[in-house]
């Protein structure tokens, strides 16, 4: 078209629109961030590394069979005996393909990432529920975090922490965080407004309303968010193998490099086993009826009520007897 436009553009295919160095600008911004918050980054590096490795060490300390039993008991307490029975073959499969330690490493990474993600996501979700401004500001950021291809997050985290677990953990946090915020916000907004109004009407402070009314009534939906965060973290923790995160991800990356289909499939199936276990266990956190703990608590309460009623009846009978006498 015009010669001026032709001169101005060098690299874009379009003849009208100039090449924007968006990537370069973002990288400059990222470098500034890295320089400014280097202390924070170093601190996070240490925290992620020690907590994930420490947890992996603790999990690896007992024998695989003992840990399997512990997992089965957890499954029974949080859900029922059926899940507890399912847990045992899931775990034994992992042991039998000789990926037990790698799986524990991945589990530890997921646990650290999930805890950090929730520490950020739940308060942020609460703020977003209370203030429309926060909600509007947070939403595009969450969209960006969620829709950016997950592998891209590995690049800046690699710059920050270098090869190793912390880079993988941070990428996992970024990728897994959004549903935690979204579902917490939704959960709080969903709480019956009349009940919140009742809280106000009896003179509750907003803290009292948050902790005594909104959060308890939002638990179910927040737990659905927690479940989502865990599932996303598990999928991302495998990608973390690309930055030397170790665990099952490392096995997968190694298998890709060596075109070792057999090993790759084994590692992939271990991820599936972990996913089934984590999903079923955390899915029951939201529903009060589902857990064995809740059932036991209910049984105790109803038996004590029954006892009371019996006592009352006996007292009535006695009273009647003395009256007739």
């Amino acid at each position: 078209m015009s010669s001026a436009a032709l001169l101005a553009t060098e690299e874009t295919e379009s003849t009208v629109i100039p090449r924007l160095e968006v990537g370069q600008w973002l990288e400059d911004g990222f470098n500034w961030f890295q320089d400014t918050f280097s202390l924070l980054i170093d601190w996070a590096d240490v925290v992620f590394e020690t907590s994930a490795e420490g947890l992996a060490g603790i999990l690896a300390a007992p024998d695989a069979l003992i840990l399997t039993l512990i997992f089965a008991v957890i499954a029974w307490l949080l859900r029922d005996w059926k899940l507890s029975l399912l847990t045992i073959p899931l775990m034994l499969f992992i042991v039998s393909v000789d990926l037990w330690e790698e799986s524990l490493e991945t589990l530890a990474m997921v646990a650290v990432a999930v805890v950090v993600a929730l520490i950020i996501a739940i308060p942020l979700g609460i703020l977003a529920a209370k203030s429309h401004a926060v909600s509007r500001a947070v939403r595009p950021v969450l969209d960006l975090m969620q829709t950016m291809p997950a592998l891209v997050w590995l690049i800046p985290t690699l710059f920050m922490f270098g090869l190793g677990m912390p880079a993988g953990i941070l990428a996992t946090i970024i990728f897994a965080l959004p549903p935690g915020v979204r579902l917490t916000e939704l959960a709080i907004r969903q709480v019956d407004s009349e009940v919140v109004e009742a809280g106000h009407a009896f003179g509750s402070t907003s803290t009292q309303i948050l902790f005594r009314i909104q959060l308890p009534l939002a638990t179910k939906t927040i737990m659905a968010g927690v479940n989502q965060v865990i599932m996303l973290a598990l999928s991302m923790a495998v990608f973390a193998g690309f930055v030397g995160g170790g665990g099952l991800g490392g096995v997968v990356v190694g298998a890709i490099n060596r075109l070792d289909l057999a090993r790759g499939l084994e590692a992939g199936l271990c991820v599936v086993m972990l996913a089934v276990f984590l999903d079923r266990v955390t899915a029951s956190l939201g529903s009060a009826e589902g857990s064995t703990l809740a059932r036991l608590r209910r049984r105790r309460r109803s038996s004590s009520q029954h006892q009371e009623q019996q006592n009352e009846q006996e007292a009535d009978l006695e009273a009647a007897a003395t009256k007739t006498a």
Binding site: V195, A201, F202, G203
Partner: protein, 411 residues
């Protein structure tokens, strides 16, 4: 804005309150004052309450009645500041709650006002006892004290022993009793009830209304009650404010509203009222045309009846206590057989207390030609309700036609 101070003895005093939702509420209020109608201003803001003023005396049940969208729920929420008025003053026991900080407002809500909600608004994750104790918990009262008080309140509403249950284990009526107990446990002088019984089925609703009236007599609370049901309004209310499109169109006693509706809207409303359940014996009783002393004879009775052209006369003793009734035929027979006293001629007469509603008098009136006698608690005659009076009281005054007598009166 008027600057008139409320009388200090008012429990609630609402003066020229406006509540507008929307972007420019102040502007809408200004326009409304200049005479613009609510519909004209719809695009700029939704005027839920327009220029509402009323006073509620301590110990009174004040009912605000209106259809949905009339602004009654918003109005009741301005009383405890959940919806702060756009303009105007709301005084609770002499304190203007529109001019205080949030901390003071909370303390007023804790100590002076409690509220019962249409859909109960119980906390599903807490037991009935913990729900009933909620107001006390918020105030920071220790567990033992608040549990004791909650149990007391639960007993008042007939739910003693249910403290350990969860709300979802109870029926709708029982849940609202818990809502009522929560408000009672707060021991506030003022109770706001927002369509409290509207979600309950009719039988339970009537039971709850009776219970509320009983509790009111016992505890002497001041109650502001919101309803869309005029029958409920008339059963409960000492005074009723009828709302329409955000304005209070009439504020008066049950009788005033029934017999002197302020406009066509109110008149239309009261058309459907079951007057037999609203009007009481006191409202329709008449002074007896003549009385017969117990010591008088059949001759005197006969003469009095002829004089007053009536077929029956009430017999009273010297303290004006009702002894019974003498019918014309009996008096004539007494004269014929030459009796000197009324002994053996006096028949029993159905009696009723002044506060009985007319519905409960219909059967008695149907069986006795002389009608029903209204007596006070000592048995003294206050007046009589002849059958004709009863029937005409049931007719709607706005239509003079006898054909509009409600169907229930097929006696």
């Amino acid at each position: 804005m008027t600057e008139s101070r409320s009388t200090p003895e008012s429990a609630v005093s609402v003066r020229n309150v406006y509540k507008v939702f929307g972007r420019r509420p102040q502007h809408v209020v200004k326009k409304l004052k200049e005479g613009a109608s609510r519909d004209e201003l719809k695009s700029q803001g939704m005027a839920a309450v327009i220029d509402a003023s009323f006073e509620v005396a301590p110990g009174e049940i004040f009912v605000v009645m209106g259809l949905s969208g009339s602004g009654k729920s918003t109005l009741i929420r301005t009383l405890n500041g959940i919806q702060p008025p756009t303009e105007g003053a709301v005084e609770i026991f002499g304190q203007d709650i529109t001019a205080i900080n949030p901390r003071q407002l909370r303390s007023i809500r804790r100590e002076k006002i409690s509220m019962v909600f249409q859909h109960f608004a119980l906390l599903p994750h807490r037991t009935v006892g913990q729900n009933a104790a909620y107001a006390l918990e918020v105030r920071g009262i220790n567990r033992a004290d608040r549990e004791a008080k909650a149990e007391e309140a639960l007993q008042l509403v007939g739910l003693g022993g249910y403290a350990g249950y969860y709300p979802h284990e109870l029926s709708g009526g029982m849940r609202q009793r818990v809502g009522l107990a929560r408000a009672l446990a707060a021991e506030t002088e003022l109770m706001l009830m927002d369509e409290a019984f509207s979600a309950l089925d009719p039988l339970i609703r009537k039971e709850m209304q009776d219970q509320l009236l009983e509790l009111q007599q016992e505890l002497g609370k001041t109650i502001v009650f919101i309803t869309h049901d005029l029958n409920e309004a008339m059963r409960l209310g000492n005074r009723i404010a009828v709302m329409r499109d955000g304005r209070i169109v009439q504020n008066g006693t049950t009788e005033e509203i029934l017999n002197d509706p302020a406009n066509d809207y109110v008149a239309q409303f009261i058309q459907d009222v079951d007057r037999t359940r609203v009007l009481t014996a006191r409202d329709v009783k008449e002074p007896p045309v003549a009385l017969l002393g117990a010591e008088q004879g059949p001759r005197a009775a006969h003469r009095l009846m002829r004089e007053h052209q009536t077929s029956a006369l009430c017999v009273v003793d010297q303290a004006k206590r009702l002894q019974g009734v003498v019918y014309e035929t009996d008096a004539a027979e007494g004269v014929a057989t030459g009796k000197d006293t009324l002994e053996g001629l006096i028949r029993p007469m159905p009696t009723t207390a002044p506060q009985t509603v007319l519905a409960e008098l219909l059967t008695a009136a149907a069986e006795h030609d002389a009608g029903v006698a209204v007596v006070d608690s000592d048995g003294r005659l206050e007046g009589v309700i002849p059958r004709v009076t009863l029937l005409s009281a049931l007719a709607d005054p706005s239509s003079g036609d006898f054909q509009t007598i409600p169907e229930e009166v097929q006696v």
